[in-house]
């Protein structure tokens, strides 16, 4: 009988599982430390800028965090700011996971918003039909807008990065035109009529109990949370979810295995665009109740960023969007309470996001400096060097 001793490297399953758990815990701990370091580093740089402007940085950061989390109102404003970001972050996340760089979330958001607005004010229907119809139409509109770059990539081989950026411009000007002319509701300002009451999402202040006074946070956050759960389920438990994940991990492997990459790509892009469009409509019927020209910009790009911050995972993107929304809420509070120039606050918030996105930088710094941060974080810290002569 052959001696298998030398080959038997397989561990006992139980201890293996424990080792796996330990590894996960350790990497989670490492990640947390890096995030904290990132936030601290951003504060150091931000403080320098504030000192230059003769502001007390400690006070500014205290106000920033109070504005985000310091009161019930602050928390509801954070939720309000985070709601659209959750949609655009999820839309970006899904596209990125599928291996498509959808930079067009911004435009899909606007197109979904204006389509939803139209259905919202132009029809008179019972709530139970009207509300779902608004959501459905905005989803389809976002998906349809995403179809343009999709088909251009499939038929003409044009990179979706370029076409999605270009369709963003078209979307901005198209909605601007619609609001200024055909859909204009009042002679004085470029905005549509209000949506019907049957097409509104209730704000928390309007509900019994009147939570979140001073904010416009609305029940759309529950749609966002539901979407988080749905996407998590789809990615983990469905065939198309598996196909999306595998296509994103390796398109060449997926193709070889027989997965229809055209179908996977088109579906991923359309659903991503649909989610962005849905987010646009939810923002309108929850917060604004009518479409004002340029009612908001940058949700798409910040959504892209939040997805990246969240490492392209469903829950990561969700948390990153919440965090990003909170920081914006904090910045708003700061503007009101401290009278700081808005640009300064944006720089402070931008720095936090920048340093978090540059998380990988820590490893780089560590490797360049000769002291190994990841080595410090690992158990084997005092590692012996080869003795020199």
């Amino acid at each position: 009988m052959a001696d298998m001793g030398g080959l038997d490297k397989s561990l006992q399953p139980k201890s293996a599982r424990r080792a796996g758990l330990q590894r996960q815990l350790r990497s989670a701990a490492q990640r947390s430390i890096r995030i904290i370091l990132s936030i601290l580093a951003s504060m150091v740089v931000g403080s320098l800028i504030m000192l230059w402007y003769k502001q007390n940085p400690i006070q500014v950061y205290i106000w920033l965090f109070q504005g985000a989390f310091g009161s019930q109102r602050a928390i509801f404003i954070s939720l309000q700011r985070a709601t659209p970001l959750i949609f655009t972050a999820l839309a970006s996340m899904l596209a990125f996971r599928t291996g498509v760089f959808n930079v067009g979330v911004e435009g899909q958001f606007f197109v979904g918003a204006i389509a939803g607005t139209y259905v919202g004010y132009a029809f008179r229907l019972p709530t139970i039909i009207h509300l779902p119809l608004v959501l459905l139409v905005s989803f389809l509109a976002g998906a349809a807008w995403a179809y343009i770059p999709t088909i251009m990539r499939q038929k003409l081989g044009v990179s979706e990065i370029i076409t999605t950026i270009m369709t963003n411009y078209i979307a901005t000007f198209l909605t601007s035109y619609l609001v200024n002319y055909p859909m204009r509701g009042t002679p004085t300002t470029p905005e549509t009529p209000f949506v019907q009451p049957t097409a509104k999402l209730a704000q928390f202040v309007e509900l019994p109990g009147g939570l979140g006074k001073g904010s416009q946070a609305h029940v759309g956050i529950f749609i966002a949370i539901a979407l988080v759960l749905v996407l998590w389920f789809v990615l983990k438990y469905t065939k198309i979810g598996y196909e999306w994940r595998m296509a994103g991990i390796s398109s060449r492997f997926s193709q070889f295995a027989g997965i229809n990459m055209d179908r996977v790509f088109i579906l991923g892009m359309l659903v991503s665009g649909g989610i962005a469009g849905l987010g646009g409509a939810v923002e309108i019927i929850g917060v604004w109740r009518k479409y004002k020209d340029l009612f908001a910009t940058g949700f798409g790009f910040r959504g892209n960023l939040a997805a990246l911050l969240g490492r392209n995972t469903v829950f990561g993107s969700f948390v990153a969007a919440l965090f990003y929304g909170s920081m914006e809420a904090g910045a708003l509070g700061l503007e009101w309470s401290a009278g700081l120039p808005r640009q300064l606050i944006d720089i402070a918030v931008g720095l936090i996001v920048f340093f978090m996105a540059a998380e990988g930088m820590w490893d780089f710094v560590a490797s360049k400096k000769g002291w190994s941060l990841s080595g410090l974080l690992r158990r084997s810290s005092g590692k012996p060097q080869v003795q020199g002569g």
């Binding site: 438990y237 991990i249 492997f253 193709q255 997965i259 084997s380 020199g388 002569g389």
Partner: protein, 516 residues
């Protein structure tokens, strides 16, 4: 005289693995020292430590008797160590001379401009001194692999390396190129250099080395004088048990044709005709081997059968049905399975888990799929079963494929492709980069598939592999079959001539030419 290299008590751990456990490794001056072991045995880690690419956790290194500290590969180069990696690090659009001197170019007086005259002169002198013939003005992209390797060696010599580490240098060479390389190595040693030769081909160890060190599981099993040992003993040391060096293969009983190629013409990525009119038949219960130097149309041939590449003209018939225009999934459902040559690109999605990799050709149909949903119960059961049946050494089905050793990765690919019970199994370079134990396993599985009645098309650059596994051999040269022959009648020399495009009967009688 102190030894050229002494590595004492070297220890290196990576997260979760001990790659080197207190390794002692000594190389005498002027010897050719073979370092052998299965993949994952720790040879490359040890050499990367010597070359300054990794820092050991413990241990000392001495060169020529003096303790040294090697923190970066720049230190190693300064100390006279050169390494030729498995994948070459050359700039394809630069000339030979430019590649050799890159980063250490002779310059004009002010140091601003490269002295091109001196570059050429130095390289010519260098290649003359060591008898390594190259054309210094040729561009790398135009050169065959064997010559590119020579350039890599010259690169290390230009930086005055006295100790050369060659990491699996023969993996990419034809038999003739290997002979040339060995001649070069011998001349280097004759001029006073010391060579460390990493390999797992025991035939080469016996042929070229003076001494051999065997590693297993991160430890040194032993060091022997080559003349005092034999392949069987080395194999036993590497694997830790007795190994079959020949494939155990009963006689073939071919039945009806499964695959028929009719005058297939296929273009490559550069839109050049890579397969130029191939007709071939593979029958159930036989292994047809495709021999040939790499780049003679093998890749395009396989890709067109699998469905990754649309042939320009010609037909692909599977069990009598024309599948030339069918999708990859359709073909797979018709019974084609393929172990691709790019294991890391096509065969596996490295960041994905073993389970995700294993189910990729099954997930869409019952029992794994229930309508649009996946049954994680079924996929998990399948993955566990496949891992067990194919003896994949992994902590669990949920680890990323990237964490496995080369042999275990290939087992995962085999497990997926063979679980479909294919009627046509295509295996391309099935054992490239694998260790002896894994090669034995893979070969046995291929023969098993044949004996279960599958038609097997084997594509390999290893002549030995083609000869020992195949029932029939077809040799590919410049996109055409220059000859086919029963494996029983094939000789290495005869096939080698065909591989070089030399046929005895002229172009008319290329097929079924008399042989050997």
């Amino acid at each position: 005289m102190p030894p050229a290299v002494e590595m004492l008590g070297i220890r290196k751990t990576f997260p979760g693995v001990v790659a080197n456990k207190d390794v002692d490794f000594t190389v005498e001056k002027g010897e050719i020292h073979a370092l052998v072991g299965e993949n994952g045995a720790g040879k490359t880690t040890l050499m990367n430590i010597l070359y300054g690419l990794h820092q050991p956790d413990a241990g000392t290194i001495r060169l020529w008797g003096k303790p040294v500290e090697i923190r970066h590969n720049a230190d190693a180069i300064r100390l006279g160590i050169g390494m030729v990696h498995q994948s070459f690090k050359l700039v394809p659009s630069f000339t030979v001379a430019e590649n050799i001197t890159l980063g250490a170019e002779p310059r004009h007086a002010l140091g601003l401009f490269v002295d091109r005259q001196a570059v050429l002169k130095n390289v010519t002198a260098l290649s003359k001194r060591f008898g390594l013939q190259v054309d210094p003005t040729a561009r790398i992209r135009d050169l065959p692999v064997g010559v590119q390797q020579r350039v890599e060696i010259l690169k290390t010599l230009y930086r005055s390396a006295d100790i050369l580490i060659l990491d699996e240098p023969t993996a990419v060479l034809t038999p003739q190129e290997t002979d040339d390389l060995f001649a070069v190595i011998r001349s280097l040693v004759a001029s006073g250099k010391t060579v460390i030769f990493i390999t797992h081909k025991l035939r080469e160890v016996m042929e070229i080395s003076d001494r051999v060190t065997v590693m297993r599981d991160g430890q040194v099993v032993g060091t022997k004088n080559t003349k005092d040992t034999n392949p069987a003993e080395l194999a036993r040391m590497m694997v830790g048990r007795e190994v079959l060096l020949r494939v155990n293969k009963p006689e073939a009983h071919p039945k009806e044709p499964v695959l028929r190629l009719e005058n297939l013409r296929v273009r490559d990525d550069r839109n050049l005709l890579a397969v130029r009119g191939i007709s071939l038949e593979v029958r159930a219960g036989e292994i047809v081997g495709i021999a040939g130097v790499e780049g003679n149309g093998q890749r395009e041939l396989v890709e067109s059968i699998v469905g990754l590449r649309i042939p320009e003209t010609g037909k692909i018939l599977l069990n009598g049905q024309d599948v030339t225009a069918r999708s990859i999934r359709d073909r797979r459902e018709e019974g084609i399975s393929c172990v691709p040559e790019d294991r890391l690109v096509r065969g596996l999605a490295l960041p994905a888990t073993l389970e995700e990799n294993l189910i990729a050709t099954f997930y869409f149909k019952p029992p794994m799929a229930r309508g649009p949903l996946l049954s994680l119960q079924a996929t998990g059961d399948f993955a566990r079963e496949a891992i067990k049946t194919f003896d994949v050494r992994a902590v669990s089905k949920d680890v990323p494929a990237a964490t496995l050793s080369g042999g275990n990765m290939q087992k995962v690919v085999l497990a997926r492709e063979m679980s479909a019970n294919p009627t046509l199994l295509i295996v391309a370079q099935p054992t490239r980069g694998l260790d002896i134990g894994s090669i034995e396993f893979v070969h046995q599985r291929i023969v098993d598939a044949r004996d279960r009645g599958a038609a097997v098309l084997l594509v390999s650059a290893e002549l030995e592999e083609v000869m020992s596994l195949s029932d029939r051999i077809a040799v590919l040269y410049e996109g055409q079959v220059v000859g086919t022959i029963d494996a029983a009648h094939a000789t290495e020399q005869g096939l080698g001539l065909w591989m070089a495009g030399i046929t005895d009967g002229g172009s008319e009688s290329r097929k079924e030419a008399a042989h050997g």
